[in-house]
Symmetry: C2
Subunit: 361 residues, 2 copies
Amino acid sequence: MRGKPTLRDVAERAGCSITTVSNILQGRSHLYREDMVHQVMRAAQELGYRPNSIARSLARRRTATIGVVLDPQHARLTHNLYAHDVLDGILAFLEPRDYDIRLITPRTSDPAAVWRRIDNGSIDGVVLIAPVMGSPLLEWRHYSSLPAVAVGSTLPDEYRLSHIDIDNTSAMTMLVEWVIQQGHRAIGYIKGHPLHWSAHQREQAFRRVLDRYGVPIREEWVLQGDYGPESGARAAEQLLRQSELPTVVMAANDDMAIGFLQQCRTLEIAVPERLSVTGFDDSSWAERMGIPLTTVRHDRYQVGYLAAQQLLHQIETGDTHPQRILINGALVVRHSVAPAYALASPATLQPAFSTEGGSKQ
Amino acid sequence: MRGKPTLRDVAERAGCSITTVSNILQGRSHLYREDMVHQVMRAAQELGYRPNSIARSLARRRTATIGVVLDPQHARLTHNLYAHDVLDGILAFLEPRDYDIRLITPRTSDPAAVWRRIDNGSIDGVVLIAPVMGSPLLEWRHYSSLPAVAVGSTLPDEYRLSHIDIDNTSAMTMLVEWVIQQGHRAIGYIKGHPLHWSAHQREQAFRRVLDRYGVPIREEWVLQGDYGPESGARAAEQLLRQSELPTVVMAANDDMAIGFLQQCRTLEIAVPERLSVTGFDDSSWAERMGIPLTTVRHDRYQVGYLAAQQLLHQIETGDTHPQRILINGALVVRHSVAPAYALASPATLQPAFSTEGGSKQ
DNA sequence: ACGCATTTTAGAAGCGTTTCCATAGCAGGC
DNA sequence: GCCTGCTATGGAAACGCTTCTAAAATGCGT
């Protein structure tokens, strides 16, 4: 026996066939006499035998591995905080079921190449992380028949792809309604990355609520962003040099809100006294900012967990019927929004006041 | 042909043997006549043939996959920000070399079980993420002969395990020296998690520098932390109710510094006017804090990149000689430290002053 | 037309499992 | 003593590929 012990080695040592060893080691020991079982167990133990999972996968035609694919668009994991929580949820579900994860980060946008990389027999199913518009990942049906679920993108029906996501529309609706209830009527908005469905869904929810409440939308207060903090800062510059300002600016995510806040500090615009700001996502730092951010929290961990569950369901039952699961967010009120009635007019600053949502510094 | 096309299907269609197809598809086409090559290529194309990587791995006895193992101690990826950057670096190196990553998160601390999970033939080598003291991962030699490198822990020599890490000692030395140069002589310290080597290395560097400069160490100002932000807040509480305070508190990482700062805000201790604070790591938010944090930055991405490189070297050459690579950090001076000479005494507060490192707010 | 060196191609033995199916051995019923 | 029905075990094909080695086909000089 050279190299690692194999089934054959164990069989030899136990004086039986490899079938016997295989069966016993897989827990089918009721088929055998007790002393045979013992023999085999001992032999395996003594040799330090460990089944080779590759060979097993080949024979079983199942790998007990699922692929997690990052959209080539945001290939750096670091820059995709979203992925972490989701990954954690996935791991949590998979761990006790003895599934492993294969992390796949395609760098090309050629769908054929991407899918050659993904669907090569090494995984039983795939979780697509936040595919953006035009992503090669969405060409799925043309290239693969693997069970698949997407996560982090609420996809239009025509993709016929199961997906789990936070409910962008309902969460943003809730947040905007709350802001309006605080008395705000002059509301600015920083849009997310135009290739993300979430950006459009959040913006649309924003517009709908304003419409519904009869609040006019001033397009010069609606700025383009890209979900990155710098784009928040740029939006601030663009907005804050206008002659008339909104009383609140709602960013489509926390990162942009942070960039915005930073710029406010530089330009010495007091938040929330002069201008209120909201975020979206409740990223880990939102609470620890100089001005703790009012935002919406959602359970991305849960998203990952459910995604894994859906996927395993698909794998095990073969039921590949596309399903959509949306998870509700929760309003998190901190200190970055002041009630608008405290402001006599956008130009006049009330330096001191204290109510819920006001500054505590 | 039912199911996915195999080599046999392609061979049949091209009218040749599977050896021929295998060779040509692996780029050994110089062995064959040009028209044969064409035939095969076409047949493969038409059938949409994709090599099965599992079968290939079995035959080649190489999987082109490396395992990334998280210490069971910090099983939640989310809570281990360190891992993200490192993972990115690993991915960056592996990607062009057509290696994939298998993410392994053992939940047990039984080394045998852990290693059964890791070393089952499905990977060619393994990166151990930040193994802590007593981690089953460090029992490596007893259970596996896989090429391995550790990352994020500067291990004692006796583990005989290659590892890549930031240079905790030199970085902390640099930071402490800088703080002393700012005139501080009353220095507090918040220790990291006692199971991490880095915590001890950083603390030791701290103590050494103070000794070297003849600065007394006041043990009541040296608090135990665990690298989490809450432990920083607890340390603040413990420290700030003492009658005499240091002029600066150095936290063993940014997270604790943040917790500390938060608590300072609550207790209305002005930073840096009343008390200076330093961090360690330059996490992404350090810059965006209310009081931008003075800290040390190191390139964890680089750590991951080099780790992957080391590992592939081991895999390809079989040279398993343990190596240690330490990466230097860089001082990042922001606004959380004020020069100590601006303070007449810890009790007297100079409200306004401006130098590098001073407040700009 | 023959042998020899070369170029092309194919056969077949793995890789380490799983699993279907067959076969011993052995009671018991007749 | 023969068939039946167990239980306990083993043989062998299959999974889809790689690769060593052998064989067929070709070209050349003679």
